[in-house]
Amino acid sequence: MREEGYISPRQASVLLWFAILPTAILFLPALLTLRARQDSWLAVILATLAAGIPALVIYLLALRFPHYTLFQYCELILGHLAGKIVAMVFVLAFFLLNAVVIREFSEFLTTAVMPETPFLFFACSIVAVAVYAARNGLEVIARCTDFIMPLLVAFFVVILLFATPEMSLRNILPFLENGIRPVLGGSLITWPFMGQVIILATYGAFVNPPRSLGWSLITGLLGIAFFLGLVTMGVILVFGACEATSLTFAGYNLARVVSLGQFLERIEVLFLAIWVAGVFIKIALNLYVVALGLATVTGLKEYRPLVAPLGALNVALAAYMYRNISEIRQDLLTVEPGWTLTWQFILPLLLLLVAWVRGQRRTGA
């Protein structure tokens, strides 16, 4: 199905930041330092380079099928039945991803900030707001980012700048102490976050003109690598690789150490406000993509009626997914890399190969 709105290439790339950064800055640095120690920032760069491959695949597919979403060209490439099955796999994958994000969000708030509140309360409230945003369409979500993005960037700058007194350059040395293999292992951990660039294959169809999708992908990925690399580096510089492994929420802890001359303190509250706004965009975007995908696969004219029931189902699923925060961390380390490589890397690559072999394109329309 088609959606009426269009977004600019700049909005597409900023949406991509929001599709990856909010949960990544919170959960990734601690997990990364488990594997790559003080070279974690290098693992982020390697993972970004690796994410360049699916980004290229998305771009080439978008050139072959301009103004078609991922779910639509699945069917154009693979035929009616197989196409629907693969599109449904993508819908389910985005749906599960959203359940994980909802759970991560609410577990963070219950663990770090409000331990007495049940996590379902946070999950229900953020999904209710996200449903409202997603029902209004992609353009509205994109315009929300116009407002939140400067806040997010300012927040990165403030935290990293004000944490510099606590930093010690010795913490990132020695460089490549155990060779390149731990760094490669670290980039495998980074992949579940980085691989989400695949989401641009769905809403990228609404970017006008389609050719500028390449620009969105490059600036999107570079921005993510920049901010994620800086936060990871900041965490290592402030805490050191050893202590960083024991932090569950590294980005939040980084905000907590900021203390400037007795008057600028406890700016983690700022972190919370902006981070919640960022996760709201991420959940709204995922919900929109899932509803759009399900509407495409089942051949509906409208995706809007699906958003609210999907949100409710997502909250229930998020409750069943994990028992606690350590199960999420365990999953991010031992299951997610394999799963996300399969659906975010291999599946799109196969789609492109089949389209290329069968010589399919829809550029004339």
């Binding site: 594997r35 599960l96 359940a99 994980v100 229900c124 293999r181 731990p182 490669l184 292992g185 670290g186 495998l188 399900l294 509407a295 089942t298 051949g299 509906l300 004219k301 409208e302 809007r304 009626p305 699906l306 609210a308 029931p309 999907l310 409710a312 189902l313 909250v315 229930a316 699923l317 409750a319 069943y320 997914m321 994990y322 199960e327 999953d331 031992t334 299951v335 997610e336 890399p337 394999g338 799963w339 490589l341 399969t342």
Partner: protein, 75 residues
Amino acid sequence: MIALIILAFLVIAYLDAPALWQKKEWRELAVMGIVWSLGLALSLGLAFHLPVPSPAKMLARFFGPVTLWLTRLIG
């Protein structure tokens, strides 16, 4: 808790279902109904503490070994 869940799902149904019914969009109504009842069933299962298997566990059964293999291969 159970009353809250049912109330929430009634509100969700009320948002879109009447309009779809009037416009006779049966396909939309059917897909929405399926997702809606799945959500209601799972939420009630949550309230009654039914042992519903976690989808993360199912993924882990298959993709856990894949990740382990990948980690041994490159990490």
